[in-house]
Structures are given as C-alpha cells and as structure tokens.
Symmetry: C2
C-alpha cells in the first residue's frame, strides 16, 4: 500500500512483519534528531519540553488504532510487564478463585499468569478459547490472534461471554494491533496489552502498551508503583499516591529513544485506514494460501475463514530446515517449534509479488 | 578528562549529569547504524546476530564498573522494575517480618518497597542508614548516594552490618555508578540495581541494570517471569523454567535501540579509570564548594568529607526561583523540593571553568 515509505531491500521477500516490522524510512533521521538536538542541545530541559508526557501522548496514538479514546493507553515497559500490571490489577480484591488463559497462548502470557496466580493464591486454568465456562474466574486472558496458527478470536462475543460469567477480560493484542480495526471502548473491554514492534513497526523490543478504560482507572491498582505513576512525581513525597488517570499505569522513567522511534514509526498510519489495511491483508493471505495449498507435505493451519490475522502458518515435519533454506534464499518468515512455518503479511509494505516469490521458493524446496 | 568526546555546547554550563548525562559524540552515528543496517538490512535476523544477548553482554560491561565478574548483571527494564524483582526475590520464603529502607530514599525505592511489603505481608520500616538495628528485617534497601544531599554511604561496613543481622542487602547504585569504584563481588553484596542515564550517559530513560551474584542465582526467583528469562525461550513451552544463570532476571523482549545506545555510550569508560574519575570528581566538587560556601542564604548540605557523590547540594529558601534563573543563564543544575539546589559534576566532561561560571552566576543572583 505504501511500501515506498519503508526501508526494505528489493531482493528480500520479508514475511516476518508479524515478528519484527520494517523501519519506515524517516525513523532513522527522527531518532538522530532526538539524540543530537533534544538530548544533545536541550539536555535535561527536554524532560519538560515533551519527553515526560511521551508515554501518554504516544499511548493516545496507539489508542486510535485500537478504538480507545484519549487518556486510556500508556506506552511503557514490555508486554510481559504490562501483562503483570493488568492481571494483578484485575484480580486485586477478588473473591473468585481462578485465572483463565487460552491453552495455546503465547508463552509469556501463560508464564506471567502463572506467576500472578502463585502470588495471589488463585488457580490458573488453561481453556479452549472457543469453548469454555467462565466458572470461578476473576479474569480471563486471551490472545486476540494466536501467534502460532494465526486464528483470530471474536472479541465482541468473547468479551460478552466473560462479562456474562462475571469475570474481567484482558486482551493481548500483540498479533492484532495494526491488523484490523479494534474497538476496545465500544466493546467494554476491561484491560488490554500489546506490543508495538510487529505490525506497528516500532523497532526491535519497542515499548509495549497497556489500555485501562477511563471508568476503571480509579480502581486500577497495580503493584509496580514506580515514581512516574505518582500523582505528583516531582513532589518526591514519601508515600505513593497514584495518578488519577492512566498515568498510574506508568512505572519508571520512560525510555525516550525507543519511544520516540515508535512515535515516528506510527506516522505511516496517518496515511491509511485500518479497514483498507484489513481488506488488503485478507487478500494477501488468501492469495498466498492458494499458492501453497496442496504443496507436498504442507498443511495450512491458519483458518480459511476471515477469523485469521495477517499470517499464514503451514505445518511440515521438516519445518526448521525448510525455513533455514528459505532464509538463505532471502525469503524471510520464521519457524515455531516443532513444525510450524509462519509467513506474515504486512499490507503496508508486502505485495502480491512477495507472496509469489515466497510460494515459488517454497515449492522448489519441497 | 575527555570532554572532547561529548556533544556538549560550550556556552552551556551543564551540571546535571547526575540526572541526565550528556551524549558521547559517537552515539548518534551508532544508533543510526543500528536502525539502518541491523534493523533495516538484517531485519529479524539480527536477533540471532547479537541482539538477543544484548542484556547480558551490556550487563557485563556495566558489571566492570561495579566490581561484578561476568554473568551477574543484566541491563533491562527500569530501575523501579528491577527494584521490584530484587525485593521480591530477596524476601521470597523468608520467615522474617520486615523490609527496611533508608528514610531519605529516592521515592521510587520507597514506593516499590511499600508495594512489595503489601504483597508479601511484611512491614516496611524507614531507618536512618547511618544508625539502625537490623531487627526482624529480611532485606535492607539502601541508596549508595543520597539523591538529595549527595551523601555517600559506606557500602563495606553497612553490608557487613546487615549480614551480621541476618538480612540481605540491596544497594541502589543510581547515583554512584560511574562515580567511584564499587566492589559488589568482593563485598558479598546480595543484590544491586542502578540506572544508566546519569553518570553513564546512556540516554534519557535508558535501561537500568540488576546484579545477582552467581552463588545466589539458583535461588533467585522473581515474579516477572517473562519469556526471555526462560531457560529455553524459543522452545515456547507451556511452563516457565527460569534460566540457570543471570538471564532469569530478564523479563520481556529487550529494547534494542536504547540498549545499543547505552552500549555505545559505555565506550568512553574504556579510556578512563574509575579511580581517576573519582579523584577528579572529588576535586571538582571540593572546588565548587569552596566557591559557593558563604554566599548569602546558602547552606551546603553535601558532606564535606569524602563520603559524598559527585554533586554539591545547596539549601536556599528561594531554591526554585534561583534554579529557574540559573537555567535562563545557561547554568543547568536542578531543583529538588522544597529548597534544594543540586549541581552535579561529571568528571568526564565537567571542568574547573564550569564550577567557576556556575558559582559566579549564583553569586550574581543572590
């Protein structure tokens, strides 16, 4: 759609934007300006010339991509740390006894949920997200798009299901933000987290985000009570009083270089609509699917319906070797053990030709 | 000492390196190379070409500045998050009932300690670090250099005191790393944290560090069990098994742009010895002290002895206004409420002339 805005070599077929997005061309110059001008010339003064509010300001920009009105998203820390805040905040004071997580979850979600369960005395239960009883759950943590298969869950009906069962829901948007329109506010989602280095192209390990809706902020208490979440941080008072708004989800001093790299990377989203991105992503993944279906030994595990993210996952017993050889031919996807090949399609820079070249290379290898 | 290596304007007297260090000149080009080459050209492949091990590799570089042999420091997350890991790890399984923190602590330490106390059922007790009973403490958290007054604590005798009382000690090195030689290994320190954006010049909000000595690693369990701390992260297994070594202190995907900016910034330390830096820092602060002592309304609160960091803190009832006017004259220190003026001296780039110009400007204002 806007490939010319990305710094991507023509001889590379890059189908791993679901793991690490490609840098928009202008990011390098922007970061250089941050280092040489904001840091070098303005020094400490930059903290009061915009740096301090970066987590909320960039959070609002991410918010526009997930259907969150301003003042409800902060960009900060890693996804794992934000999962910890979200789950600890969600179960605080509950009289219920369970935390639910989808059985095929990305590992870090399950690990953090297990840790929260141990800390709070609750029990972790892994469930099939397409068929589960809420039971005694205080909170349910679901991955909007499954990192392995690319399956997309129905956020509307599952949020309703969890609420009907009297629990809170936390959505992990790592593999869906930048993929399709998301409506956190409208659906009444309780909490959401996500990363910014996949389809948002924020850079390797770029800061993650946490969504806490306005109405829930006053009762949101998370245990990482770092000084930047304080109501009046520079009062340097002895007792922690959380900020009244979303800033209470902040912890330590924000990581400005990475955060402003992300800020720059988000500019490309001003030029496209998520509905168009989604339509194009469905086209690209459908096209690639047609090209590889029926290749010897290949099983497509990504849903054929529209309930999928922007990736096509293939199963093959020799997946690790095959991906190694594809990468040697400059066709870059990735391998998830034991036997899954993942090909991500980022409509902003991927093309039909990428799908064709990847399918051809795969065919030659099989 | 090596001011020519720093990108600092001659018309600025910058005495706030204890809050945000100055960028070494080569950092901007290095980060540009990371974005355009490592990220842009190598894309996802960079994760297996060095990125993944960055927290441990850069951690070892910081380790050399704090007397830690390799394999005991990770660079990751913020100081606040690392404090949480350290304190939760330190009190896990204890039968003791208290957490001690110095009464004048930097706020975030106290806030996090309070949160850990609430989570674990222990009691937080604020103490005078120069005179306290260990009592029923499981862990004692002390700031090596007090952010407000610049007082330096005696790490050797206090570590011994805390150990004699049967507790663990966590040192916060935010205001002492890069100031003087520190000997974590030799003194048998249990845990330490610190930031890298002050005297280490890592950049605004650069990742912090956490030290866990080899012998304690096997029993170090912290609740932020993110996937990158797993023994075999890419096995993507369902259960969390912590890495056997220091990597268990990692949480989420490392923030590469900021971490490699820090990596570049650390290069300047290869050219100096910490003993020389310390000697020069004592000279600079002593010189500035002589120049400002006796100015009307000024009380110097930084210790006159060598038990001080590289800052001179002055008390004046009109501190906020005075600092505002100093900054307007390009003499940049900072103000800590209610009445403290702080002037930090970073021997790598500060000079006698900086001290003279700052003292002259202050004199003119009083």
């Amino acid at each position: 759609m806007i490939r010319e805005l990305f710094d991507l070599d023509d001889d590379v077929v890059y189908l791993d934007g679901n793991s690490l997005g490609v840098p928009p061309r202008h990011v390098a110059a922007r970061v250089n300006e941050v280092i040489t001008q904001q840091w070098g010339r303005r020094l400490i003064r930059s903290w009061s010339e915009g740096w301090w509010e970066t987590p909320e300001r960039v959070g609002d920009r991410v918010g526009r991509l997930v259907g969150a009105a301003p003042g409800q998203v902060v960009v900060a820390d890693s996804t794992s740390v934000n999962l910890f805040k979200a789950l600890m905040g969600a179960v605080r004071g509950t009289e219920r006894g369970e935390i639910l997580v989808d059985a095929g979850t990305f590992p870090t979600d399950g690990y953090i949920a297990q840790s929260v369960a141990e800390l709070t005395g609750l029990t972790l239960r892994a469930v099939d997200p397409e068929s589960f009883e809420v039971g005694d759950a205080a909170v349910v943590l679901l991955n909007h798009v499954d990192y392995r298969s690319g399956r997309l869950l129905d956020m509307a009906s599952l949020t309703e299901h969890v609420h009907a069962g009297g629990a809170k829901i936390v959505w992990d948007l790592c593999h869906s933000v930048g993929v399709l329109p998301i409506e956190l506010d409208r659906l009444g989602v309780d909490l959401a987290v996500g990363c910014t280095y996949k389809f948002l192209n924020g850079g390797p390990g770029a800061p993650a985000f946490l969504y806490v809706p306005k109405a829930a902020q006053e009762d949101f208490h998370q245990p990482l009570t770092g000084w930047t979440g304080h109501a009046v941080p520079f009062a340097m008072s002895q007792d922690y009083t959380p900020d009244q708004g979303i800033s209470r989800a902040r912890v330590g001093t924000p990581d400005i270089l990475s955060m402003l790299a992300l800020d720059a990377a988000l500019d490309v989203w001003d030029q496209v609509s998520l509905a168009d991105v989604r339509a194009r992503g469905l086209e690209l993944t459908a096209y690639f699917r047609r090209l590889v279906e029926g290749l010897p030994g290949i099983e497509v595990i990504t849903p054929d319906s529209e309930w999928r993210g922007h990736q096509v996952s293939l199963r093959h017993p020799d997946a690790a070797r095959i991906m190694g050889e594809l990468i040697a031919r400059n066709v870059i996807g990735d391998h998830r053990p034991p036997d899954v090949l993942r090909f991500g399609f980022a409509p902003l820079y991927n093309t039909d030709e990428d799908a064709e070249r990847a399918a051809r290379a795969l065919q030659e290898l099989l």
